[in-house]
């Protein structure tokens, strides 16, 4: 595993203030230069990747089941907005609540084991959820939930046009990413890093490691669910892909490609992966092949990811 993101050792270019300013500037430029819906999709996946890395980067837990939370967030928010007529913030809150509860359930089971066993249990449970959604008629089976409205914020503010939605998604993603960053630097976050570095010692010191891990798992699940719910508001559909292993794999890809030892790593990874997926839709070489080659190249030559490459300079 790559070195920890200990405060102080952080390279200056990756300092949060720079990231924030850079992020805002990039958002503004992106809105005018690029298609806003694409940028919003990138933001949703960036949030998923950062949420996923809260487990991998901080606690050293590799979950292969984050699609379960992303998908739950997507379907719950979609169903609440479409069928129950929830407002935007209501749908998001319900989606996060559902994902956290599912996170506690899945985490509670999976955290009884570690390493590859932990990863496989998360994968198996996520697949169970996938097939439940697949077979549930109310959720549209393989067609997914289509034609989900963009609900009003607080029941008052219309965020249905792309500009307003862009501000809303930027604000929510920004706040969530900031929250995850704060969690990482809080005493709780330091405890998580300590567990990753020497779990036995933490147990000996009297920490209830199991409970702390479960809390981190539930938090990560909640943020992943938020990402899924936001995605549903942006693209107005929840598809089976959202809950499929594909999404779990993508979260891993983004974190490793970007550099899981760095807070900005998964962010960069998400931007690269989703941009490539969207920019290369017309390429003669299939997109998965390009992404696969990139992944092999980065893990072989830059094991610390793209963020690691930048930080080395």
């Amino acid at each position: 595993m790559a070195p920890a993101s200990a405060p102080g050792a952080r390279p200056r270019l990756l300092h949060p203030v720079f990231l924030l300013l850079g992020g805002l500037a990039a958002l503004l430029v992106a809105y005018h230069l690029l298609y806003p819906v694409f940028v919003m999709q990138v933001m949703c996946f960036a949030l998923l990747a950062v949420a996923f890395n809260l487990l991998l980067g901080h606690v050293g837990l590799l979950s292969l089941g984050h699609a379960a939370f992303f998908g739950t967030g997507a379907y719950v928010a979609g169903y609440a907005a479409k069928v129950w007529g929830f407002t935007a913030e209501g749908a998001l809150a319900l989606a996060v609540l559902a994902s956290v509860l599912l996170g506690i359930a899945i985490g509670g089971l999976a955290l009884r084991r570690s390493g590859i066993h932990f990863a496989m249990i998360t994968l198996a449970l996520a697949q169970v959820l996938y097939f439940i959604i697949f077979q549930t008629r109310a959720l549209g089976g393989e067609n997914g939930l289509q034609g989900i409205p963009r609900p009003r914020l607080l029941g008052l503010i219309d965020i249905s046009d792309n500009g307003a939605m862009y501000v809303f998604v930027s604000a929510v993603t920004g706040a969530a990413v900031w929250a995850i960053w704060r969690i990482g630097r809080s005493p709780f976050g330091v405890t998580l890093s300590a567990i990753r570095q020497n779990e036995a010692r933490m147990i000996a010191l009297g920490y209830n490691v199991q409970q702390i891990k479960l809390a981190a798992f539930a938090l990560s699940a909640g943020f992943a669910g938020l990402a899924g719910a936001l995605k549903v508001m942006v693209v107005q559909l929840a598809s089976l892909t959202d809950a499929s292993f594909f999404i779990s794999g993508e979260a891993v890809l983004m974190a490793l490609l970007g550099g899981m030892a760095f807070f900005a790593g998964p962010l960069i990874g998400a931007v690269v992966v989703i941009s490539l997926q969207l920019a290369l839709v017309a390429s003669p070489v299939p997109v998965p092949m390009i992404l696969g080659a990139l992944f092999v190249a980065v893990t072989l030559f830059f094991p610390r990811g793209i963020a690691g490459m930048i930080a080395r300079r």
């Binding site: 230069l33 298609y35 097939f131 393989e142 289509q146 995605k231 920019a279 017309a282 963020a307």
Partner: protein
């Protein structure tokens, strides 16, 4: 990192063409590398190119430009591309949109921006049912038409008893429910069914039940990997060698080719187009083969017909206004090298002739693509759901 982002952004910006006003853009949006690309993908693109070749290089004085994108089987990627194409890039019509989830997503957007989408691969009957829009046309068929065609034609060949091997989710269950109605209409009898979970590897128990039932016809109401597995294993269990027919509502010629001549014996299916049905289809298919290296699937051929008629409708009505163009398409018969007796109906489904085909025994094939023989042509009116029964709100019942 800023530099990285800036580079990326520039790259993305360059990827978006700037000359939206100059050319007349038509977009093929499909799966270029996944499982559906066998009967959509590059073949759909080639079919669209043939349509432009046959129509001529310009429409309304603007040069026709074909743009292509790979939605990677993801509905949200499809929706994103469709929005960008319609709203930013000046694409006038989107074609194909393989996979029903992606098709339904693009239909939503097409209805909002009021630009047409012509679907040639997606077969969900929801498309011309509750989800129908005035701007969407389903150019090939839906599951209802395919399965009705199979039942009607097989009953006419003397099939009396039926056994279902059904994929246990909405698609399979709906297909079975539809087919049970058709079977009851023909006076046939369903003697049994076996439900299997999605992504089953071992079909032995289901196939043995089917064999034991002694039914005239075993229906495979499944799709994708399940269909391939169950077909291969049905051959190994000697279902067709034992005198039972295998009815497969949804399978295309390139898929049959991929399964191999030995594995498809006794398979009966409905197709919207058969490459060697007559001289016109054969001549067109040879041109397709020269471009792609395979014979066309019915869904790929439908893409040719859809684009050709769309361009003709635009030229004839002198405008790209979607309401006018769609009205023109509905008002005129659809007839070309691919589609016979076509009528675009108010619910967006193109009613046209379908073909009941049977796989040729391996020793009677005259060429590597001589995979099927047409048992009978099913007139559109006998296959497609009557408008009076349509769940589409656009149809006045």
């Amino acid at each position: 990192m800023l530099k990285t982002i800036a580079t990326l952004l520039t790259g993305l910006a360059l990827a978006v063409p700037a000359n939206a006003q100059q050319s007349f853009k038509v977009g093929v949006l499909t799966d270029m590398s996944g499982p559906v690309s066998t009967y959509s993908g590059a073949g759909s693109v080639a079919a669209a190119e043939l349509a432009i070749e046959d129509f001529g290089p310009t429409v309304l004085g603007r040069r026709i430009e074909l743009v292509v994108a790979d939605h990677q089987m993801k509905a949200d990627v499809a929706a994103g591309i469709a929005r960008q194409w319609y709203e930013n890039d000046g694409v006038e019509v989107i074609l194909d949109v393989a996979v029903s989830s992606a098709a339904l997503a693009v239909m939503e957007i097409s209805a909002v921006v009021k630009k047409p989408v012509l679907l040639s691969t997606a077969a969900s009957s929801t498309i011309n049912g509750s989800a129908c829009t005035p701007y969407a046309a389903q150019w090939s068929f839906d599951t209802y038409a395919l399965s009705r065609g199979v039942v009607a034609a097989m009953a006419a060949e003397g099939a009396k008893s039926w056994f279902f091997i059904t994929s246990d989710y909405a698609f399979g269950q709906d297909l079975e429910a539809d087919m049970r109605n058709f079977i009851a209409e023909t006076g046939g009898e369903v003697v049994g069914r076996a439900l299997h979970p999605v992504n089953t590897q071992d079909f032995a128990s289901y196939l043995l039940q089917a064999q034991g039932s002694g039914a005239d016809v075993v229906v495979l109401a499944n799709s994708g990997g399940d269909l391939v597995n169950s077909l291969k294993q049905a051959n190994e269990f000697g279902i067709s060698a034992g005198g039972q027919k295998l009815a497969v509502p949804l399978i295309s010629v390139p898929q049959l080719k991929a399964l191999g001549a030995g594995a498809i014996q006794g398979v009966v299916a409905s197709n919207g187009f058969v490459w060697n049905h007559d001289d016109a289809t054969q001549a067109w298919s040879e041109r397709f083969h020269a471009k792609v290296g395979t014979m066309p699937a019915d869904t790929q051929a439908a893409n040719y017909s859809a684009l050709l008629h769309y361009l003709r409708a635009v030229e004839a009505s002198g405008t790209t206004d979607a309401d006018t163009v769609m009205a023109h398409l509905r008002a005129h018969p659809i007839e070309d090298a691919v589609v016979r007796g076509g009528v675009l109906r108010a619910n967006g489904s193109l009613e046209h002739e379908l073909y009941l085909v049977e796989a040729n025994p391996a020793d009677q094939m005259t060429g590597e693509w001589d995979l099927v023989t047409v048992l009978r042509a099913v007139p559109g009116a006998d296959a497609f759901r009557p408008l009076a029964q349509s769940a589409c709100p656009l149809v006045a019942n």
